[in-house]
Every structure is written in C-alpha cells, then in structure tokens.
C-alpha cells in the first residue's frame, strides 16, 4: 500500500472556485481509480488560493491482474467434427493474441461458442497515475477558465507547478509544459521558497508547508480565522454573523490572520447598510456590530501574513475604506437632492427586458397589479382600505431608487436605498419599509416581507417579472434560469402561505398578462394568452411539487393534493390541505380513509358522467344504506370543507363511509347486466369519491405502506 500526494500549484485561484474544484478532483480521482481497478483506502482534498491538493491513502503498487473472456465464432465454425480448431478458430486465436490452449468452448444462450481467455497483467500504479491525474487537470471545470500558453490547456488561472508523489517517487505527469516534481511553493511573500517534499506523507506535507507560512488545510485555516476574528470582536460584544464572508476570506489567504481597524465616527451618519456594503462587497471587511445591532466605527480585515508592521497595513486599509465612505457620503448627499417621487419618470431611461419597454412602464404595471391584489384582499377583509392606499404609494416608489448614484455604485442596495431616501422625503414608514421589503425573499433562507404592504407589492413585482419572461419565451429550462424565475415563484408561494392570502392564481396571471404589451395578432391574442397562463400554471405546479419535496413532504401526498379537483389555484388553500394530509397520514384511520377514496375511484370512474343517483333504482339494502349515509353526511362534510376545516372533514368522511363502503363492496355486485342498475351504483360511488377528491385530495394517488399504489 502506498499513498499519493498530488498538488496543483497555481497563481491565485478565485476564492469561490476552490471548494467546487476540490469536490470535482475528489470525484474525478475516484472515478479514474475505479476505471483502472485501483482500490483506495481514503481520499482527501483541500487547498488554498495557490494550490489544490489531493491526498489518496492506501493505493496498491499494481493493478489486480484480470482474466477476460472474449467471445469468438460459434463452435460449429471454430471446430471441425473431430473437435480440432478450424482455420477460423485458429484465426480467432491469432487475432486475440492468445495460444490455442487458451481457447475454450462454452455454452451460451445462443448455443456453443468459442472464447479466447486473455490474462491481462496488472500495470504498475505509478504508470497509470499520470493518465488519471492528467484527466483530472483537464476536466476540472470552473465558472470561467483561461488560457495562458499557446495551444494550451484551460484552467481557472495559470498552473505553475505540479507536485506528484507516489510514495517517494515522482509520478511522471506533464501538462502544458509543466513537469511534475517533488517541490511545493511556500508562502509567496513570507517564504518565497520551493520546498522539497520527500514523500507522500500528509502530515509531513502539512508541516513542511506550515514552516513556510502556508496553512494548507482549508478547515484549519477557517478555524484559525474564526478564532482570531472572534477574539477581536468579543471585547465589543460583537460576533461573526456572516459565515459566507468567512468562507470567502478563508480562500483568499494562505496564512490566516486578522487585524482590527477603524474609521472616522463622522461617517456613521451614512445609513448603516451602506457602510456595511462598502466594507463587505468590495473589501471583504467584517463590520463590528454591538449585540443590539448598532454599527461601531471599527472593522476587521483578514491578513495574509503575521502582525509585524501591522500599523502600515491598518493605515492602508483605513485609507481605502475612508475613500469608499467619502464616495458613499457624496452619493448620499447628491441623491437626496431629488425626491424619490420625481425619479419615477426618469425610469423611462432604464431598460427592462428587450421589447418590454423600461422601468417606468414596469412601475405602472406593478402599481396596477398591486391595486388589483389590494382589491381582492380588501374584499376578503385581509387588507384595510388604508393599507390599500399605502400599497399604492409603495408600488409607485418601489423601483425609483434604481437610478440613484448609490445604487449605481452598490447595486445590492436596491430597495434599501429606496427606503432610506423615502424616509428622507418624509414618506409614511409603512411605505418606506415596503420599498425595502418588496424584493424579499432574495435567497432561499431569506425572510419574506415583514409587512402586508411589502408583501402585496412584492407579489405584484414577482408576478410581473414571471409573466414578462414567459411572454418573451424566457422560460427556465434545466439548470438555466437567468432571470431567477424559480426564486420569484418561491417568493410568491411563501408570501401567500405565510400571510394566508386567498388569491386565485389564474385570475392574477390573466390580469398581469393583460397589462403587458401584446405582440400577437388581435384575433389570436386570446388563445396565446390562455396558453401562457397554462404554461405559468404548470411552472407553479412544478415549483409547488419541488418546494414541498425539499421540505420533506411525501411525493404521493403532494401529487394527491396537486391533482385534486381543487388543485392549487388558491396556493394558500393548497398548502393548508397538504399540511392537513401530512398530519392525518400518521393517524390510525388514515389507511381506511385512503381505501374509501381509492375503491370508489377505481370503479366510479366507469360511471357515465350524466345523470344522478335515483333511489327507486336501488335493489339491495346495502346500496340503500350507503346512499342514506351519503345523504345524511354530505351537507355536514361540505360545510366543514367550505370552512377549510380539512382535518375534521376528513375524519367525518372516514367515519361515515369506511364501514358502509366496505360492506357495499362485500355484498353488492356492481357490474350487473342491467345497465340502469349498474350505472346507478357507479354514480353513487362517484358521488362519494368526488365529495372528497374534488375538494381536498385525490387519495387514489396515495401509495400505501406496503409500497403498492392504492389504486392498483
């Protein structure tokens, strides 16, 4: 057993590329080893901005030898009657490079055939590794790759060294003119040395690099930075609140360290969000916030070196931040000279999507759609008239900050600057927070708008984006979703669920689409719009399915609710029904409930759709009994359903029908000759089935515990 140490030495690789590249290295090596029949004991990948390292433990010296059987001509052709090989048989042996005594006749499904038995001796691992490792270098993919030599390889940044040791032997890899050797580079500034690594020994490699000021292990570097930064923050009652920034900074340095800097207190009159963005976005500084969230005039920057001469570094970083904050203050001053309301008209200069005009048009659509949603929600009493007026104002101003200088400089402050400037203009506080909130959720773990006002504007904004893209045919496919429509749909779903807004999807989509310019002939406009609506509805169906699966819901439950008569047009109601089913699927009466729906579905679907149950046609007491149970309970169950009391409705349905349906199927033969009697029975079963599956969930799609679909 021998270990392998493989280090790709490169010029600084972008921080965000490193972890994905290491993951790929691991997979590519495992695949390569498997393909070449090399067993590995363990595999570890780690790295810094200047090196991607793989350590494989316990490789064999040689591949296992194997025996291959290659099928040749049939026995009838390869052998003569005396059992000797014919010319054809001998020719086969020659073509395979084996002696006659390695030919064999074997029975197969198609008769007897001649086989060549080939022994393939295992190759030396040392000779196989160059193939595997070269493939790794060629196949790691990066978001952006570059060329640095003629006719050469593409990689994130130029590769400048390859350290490849198998035991104490250098593996002869050569890529893009770089020959493997047993040297790694130390820290470029603190060491500058080429270090000889005597053998593939992980601890030794780590230790030798550490002597040359490189902490090669990413987890160790991250830990060291966390400790250092936490130590600096603790005296202020602050703590690290941005793990992603810590991840990023970990991959910007080889020698993890951090120092505290400060800035003039006078800058604290700029909005805190602006200061934080100026620190984080370009400079990757950690702001220091007291436990109450208040920003201090201090920050921490990671260092790629020790503290000696830290003063010059501190001064340098402070100077840089001062310049950025001076600029921010200039924008803060200039931008406030024009009230937000006046900026709305300027949005004509900001293009939206090709053909769909500009942000001024878009603002008007968001205003109209917000208004439409407000109307619906005030009808239900979810929103007050006063709220609706605030929605109107917020929707008008929600995009007005896009052409401010501050948002031009820091695009991630969109919405937030809108809030700040609106506050300055003296807008109602509900309006100002709605402007900031309407972009939420901006990512999966983000919160939704904290106010109803922000939620309604957010819905209008998201629906307009989705509809605009669908009209232009910019529909997400596979991994391609350039306009983040999935995130927008996710936002809509969460807002509807968490606010309990009762709205009809189809109606909103039709409204949103009617606000968009049309590109089709007048007479085909209606059909085209219908098509787009159903396309978007399908998109929402996929999203609802995906989101609920990710939340851990059962596939069959989600499908049962999606495919019920009530469907998902009212997304909040959909979620309520799904939640109810997830709950009762753990009850002991669940199985019987499913059985009622399933059995009535299987047979009821044969009923002709016209006509209704007629009592006088009944012949058997069990069917009369079932009908009277239906008549007795139907109204109650419908009332519970209308009141959205789905759990009670389900129980009552089960309680009423489980026994009589069972008895019915035991005693009554449905498919009798007499068409009238037969159809009457089918209609009865259909009524019972639809009482549940049209309104709550189509339980015939439920897979019961013995892993068998209930409807089979």
């Amino acid at each position: 057993m021998t270990d392998l140490l493989f280090e790709i030495g490169a010029e600084e690789i972008p921080a965000s590329y490193i972890t994905p590249a290491l993951d790929q290295m691991k997979v590519l090596f495992a695949e390569g080893a498997k393909k070449h029949r090399l067993e590995i004991h363990s595999l570890y990948c780690t790295g810094t901005p200047r090196r991607l390292t793989l350590f494989a433990k316990g490789l064999p010296q040689k591949q296992e030898s194997i025996t291959e059987e290659i099928q040749g001509p049939s026995a009838a052709i390869a052998l003569d009657k005396a059992g000797n090989f014919t010319k054809a048989g001998l020719g086969f042996a020659r073509s395979q490079g084996v002696e006659i005594n390695n030919l064999l006749v074997k029975k197969t499904a198609k008769g007897e055939y001649c086989f060549a038995i080939k022994k393939i001796a295992g190759r030396e691992t040392l000779h196989i590794l160059p193939e595997i490792l070269t493939e790794i270098i060629k196949n790691i993919s990066f978001p952006k790759s570059m060329k640095w030599k003629e006719n050469g390889l593409f990689f994130a940044r130029p590769i400048r060294s390859l350290l490849v040791l198998f035991g104490d032997k250098v593996v002869p890899v050569e890529v893009n003119g770089i020959k493997a050797d047993k040297f790694a580079f130390g820290h470029p500034f603190l060491s500058g040395k080429r270090i000889e690594i005597p053998e593939a020994d992980w601890d030794l490699y780590k230790q030798l690099l550490k002597q040359e000021k490189v902490t090669v292990d990413m987890a160790e570097r991250r830990g060291a930075l966390r400790t250092k930064i936490t130590d600096l923050m603790t005296p202020y009652g602050a703590s690290i609140d941005d793990e992603e920034l810590l991840d990023e900074v970990t991959n910007l340095v080889e020698y993890p360290n951090a120092i505290e800097c400060k800035f003039d207190e006078e800058f604290l009159d700029i909005p805190a969000d602006v200061i934080e963005t100026a620190m984080k976005e370009h400079q990757r500084y950690f702001p220091i916030k007291k436990s109450d969230g208040k920003l201090l005039n201090k920050f921490i920057t990671a260092l790629n070196r020790d503290e000696s001469n830290a003063n010059t570094t501190i001064r340098g970083n402070e100077r840089v931040l001062r310049a950025r904050l001076s600029d921010a203050r200039f924008f803060w001053k200039e931008d406030r000279k024009t009230p937000l309301e006046k900026r709305v008209e300027d949005l004509k200069n900001l293009a939206f999507l090709a053909k769909l005009g500009n942000y001024y048009d878009r603002t008007n659509r968001i205003v109209d759609l917000s208004n439409f949603l407000s109307h619906r929600l005030t009808n239900f009493g979810t929103l007050t008239i006063e709220d609706a007026a605030l929605v109107k104002r917020a929707s008008l101003l929600c995009k007005a900050d896009l052409l401010t200088q501050m948002v031009g400089e820091f695009p991630s402050l969109q919405g937030i600057m809108g809030r700040e400037y609106a506050e300055w203009d003296g807008e109602n506080p509900s309006v100002t927070s709605a402007i900031a909130e309407h972009y939420r959720p901006r990512f999966a773990a983000d919160s939704i708008p904290a106010s109803k006002i922000g939620a309604v504007v957010g819905l209008a904004d998201k629906f307009d984006t989705i509809c605009s893209c669908f009209v232009l045919g910019l529909i997400p496919t596979g991994s391609q979703d350039p306009y983040s429509l999935r995130r927008h749909a996710y936002g809509i779903i969460r807002i509807l669920e968490e606010y309990g807004f009762t709205l009809e999807l189809k109606e909103i989509l039709s409204q949103a689409l009617s606000l968009l310019p049309t590109f089709s002939e007048r007479n085909s406009e209606h059909t085209i719009r219908e098509k787009i609506v159903s396309g978007i509805k399908e998109f929402f169906r996929d999203r609802l399915f995906q989101i609920n699966i990710e939340r851990g819901c059962r596939h069959d439950l989600v499908n049962a609710v999606l495919n019920s008569g009530a469907g998902f047009d009212d997304i909040y109601d959909f979620s309520q029904r799904l939640k109810t089913l997830s709950g009762i699927s753990k009850e002991n009466w669940w199985h019987d409930l499913v059985t009622v729906v399933e059995r009535t579905f299987n047979i009821g679907k044969k009923a002709s759709s016209i006509g209704s149950v007629e009592e006088r046609i009944f012949t058997e007491p069990e069917e009369r009994q079932l009908w009277s149970v239906y008549k007795k309970n139907e109204a109650d169950i419908r009332k519970l359903i209308d009141g959205k009391r789905y759990e009670e409705a389900s129980y009552e349905y089960y309680d009423a029908f489980a026994k009589p349906v069972h008895t019915f199927f035991d005693r009554v033969f449905v498919n009798v000759e007499d068409e009238k009697i037969r159809n009457n029975r089918l209609l009865l079963l259909k009524e019972i089935n639809e009482l549940y599956s049209a309104k709550i969930a189509d339980l015939s799609q439920i897979i019961i515990p013995n892993n068998k679909p209930a409807s089979d």
Binding site: K144, E150, N309, T313, A323, S326, D327, K348, A351
Partner: protein, 297 residues
C-alpha cells in the same frame, strides 16, 4: 519618492526588462488598453514588449476636485508582454520591490478580476493587486481583443500611478501627492478637475457630440474600406471618447447605451480583423523570419 520618480523608476525597470518605452498616444482615451500599442499589438503572433505612461480620461468619474480619490483625468502605467512569460507574477512583484515596497511588510493580495471592455470587445482574466487593501494594479491575461481570440496570450499590467504614489507617500488625498519637490499633484491638476468636471457634466454640447459620434463612425468605416486600419482605429478612440462624454452628460438612456457601445465595439472588431490581415500580408515583420512556433517557446 515623488510621483515623477515613480514613473521614471517604472520606466527604467521595464526598459531593463527589454520593453520598448512607448509614449502616450495623442488621442483622448479611457485607459492605456486603448493605445494601439496595446490594442492592436496584442493581436497576431508577433512578440511584443512595451511600456508607457497613459493619461486617461473618464468623464463620469469627475468630482470637481472635491473627492480625494476620484479624478476624471489620471495616469496609468501600462506594460504589455507577448507571449505572457511563465514568471509573470514574479517580474511584476519585482517591479514593486524596485519601487522600494517591502512585500514582507505589507499585505499583498491577488484579488480575482474578470476584466472586460465591452467597447473594445476585449476580455481577460487575472487580478486586481491589492497593497494593504488598496488596488494598485490590474494584472490581466488577455484572452480576446476586438472579438479576436488571442494566440499567443498577452500579459497586461496596468499600474494606477496615483494609487501607488498615495501608497508610497502615505497620502490621504491625491491632490497632496508630491509630484516633484515644490509641486503637488493638486498644483498641477486640481484646476483641470474643476474645469473639466464642469464641462463634462454641465456644459459639453451634446448635440455636437452626438453629431461627432456619427461623423467619426462614418470616417472610421470609410477608412476601413480604404484598408487604412491605423487611421481608422484613431476614429474608434474618438467615438469612444464622444460616447463617454455623452454618458457623463446623461444624454444617453440605458437602452441607447447598449446600442452606442455596440457601435464602438463593432468598429473595434473590424479594426482588429483588418490589423491582423495587414500584418499577415506583411508576413508578421516582428517575427523577423522566425517561424511562428519558434517565437512561441
């Protein structure tokens, strides 16, 4: 070290490396990349080593001389080397050491930068080089210029001279930099900043600029037809500057912006293609009879 000493030192360092010490090109431009010594010479297989100071104009960055870090006119020190040497980073870092910057005492970082010039149809990958958090150089391996894939690759180093000087002289404001004993950067350039900021933002005649843009574009197209690629390229620069001026005046809407940038890029692309043809017709003179492959070593 004074501002002008920094320039002189960099010139000496790169002259010793074997660079042609070029001079600024005499047409307004946004960056040293626009100089034909970079844009055109990066094309084709001929080896090229060149360094020069480039006065650069970015009308939108004007702040009336009130911001200590932003200028509408500033200086770059530009180095281009083709093919990019294997020890690119080392020779660059040595130039900083040559300026007396002790790299052990400062925090040096190579921070990811995907460089792109939409007007020039040029892209490259590399870094911003930071000294104690301040970006002092753009370090780029060109991949494409004028829409043409490069082979071999050109290395471009763009030093921000004011930034480096502020770093070395530890000054808070660009205007306080010592240009030479007795003169500050402000003495020499502050008035320009006030005057040009006013002109760029408020006074420039947009109707004239719009007309000039069209005129320059036509002239460029006409010269390309006459196979006069070098004069044609001058008009790409003129178009680009007219566009920058219009941008500063806020005379171009966001939608139109893309259109104007596309028009300049189109001219730049055609110049790049013509230049490659021109040099090829001359049998790549700078290869000096060496086969292309030999030069690539």
């Amino acid at each position: 070290m004074t501002f002008q000493e920094i320039v002189l030192k960099l010139q000496n360092y790169w002259a010793d490396y074997g660079c042609v010490i070029w001079q600024p090109y005499d047409i307004e431009k946004g960056a040293g990349t626009f100089n034909p010594a970079t844009f055109l010479r990066a094309l084709g297989p001929e080896p090229w080593k060149c360094a020069y100071v480039e006065p650069s104009r970015r009308p939108t960055d004007g702040r009336y001389g009130e911001n200590p870090n932003r200028l509408q006119h500033y200086y770059q020190f530009q180095v281009v080397i083709k093919p990019a040497p294997d020890n690119s980073q080392d020779i660059y870092l040595n130039s900083l050491r040559f300026l007396g910057i002790d790299l052990v005492k400062h925090d040096v970082r190579f921070v990811e930068d995907d460089w792109e010039s939409p007007t020039l149809g040029a892209t490259g990958l590399g870094w911003e080089v930071w000294l104690d958090g301040m970006e002092v150089t753009q370090f780029t391996y060109f991949q494409q210029v004028g829409g043409v894939e490069l082979e071999p690759i050109t290395l471009e180093l763009t030093y921000g001279l004011e930034r480096i000087a502020m770093f070395i002289q530890e000054k808070e404001s660009v205007f306080d930099l010592e240009w030479v004993k007795g003169y500050t950067y402000g003495d020499i350039h502050k008035q320009d900043e006030v005057q040009f900021s006013t002109y760029n933002f408020k006074v420039a005649d947009t109707a004239m600029l719009l007309q000039l843009f069209d005129t320059y574009e036509k002239e460029c197209q006409r010269l390309l037809k006459e196979d006069l690629v070098l004069p044609a390229y001058d008009y790409v620069l003129k178009c680009s500057h007219a566009f920058n001026m219009l941008d500063a005046r806020g005379a171009i809407g966001v939608t139109q912006r893309t259109g104007y940038i596309g028009r300049v890029r189109n001219l730049a692309r055609r110049c790049a293609e013509s230049y490659v043809k021109l040099r090829e017709a001359l049998h790549w003179p700078l290869l000096k009879g060496n086969p292309v492959a030999a030069i690539h070593r």
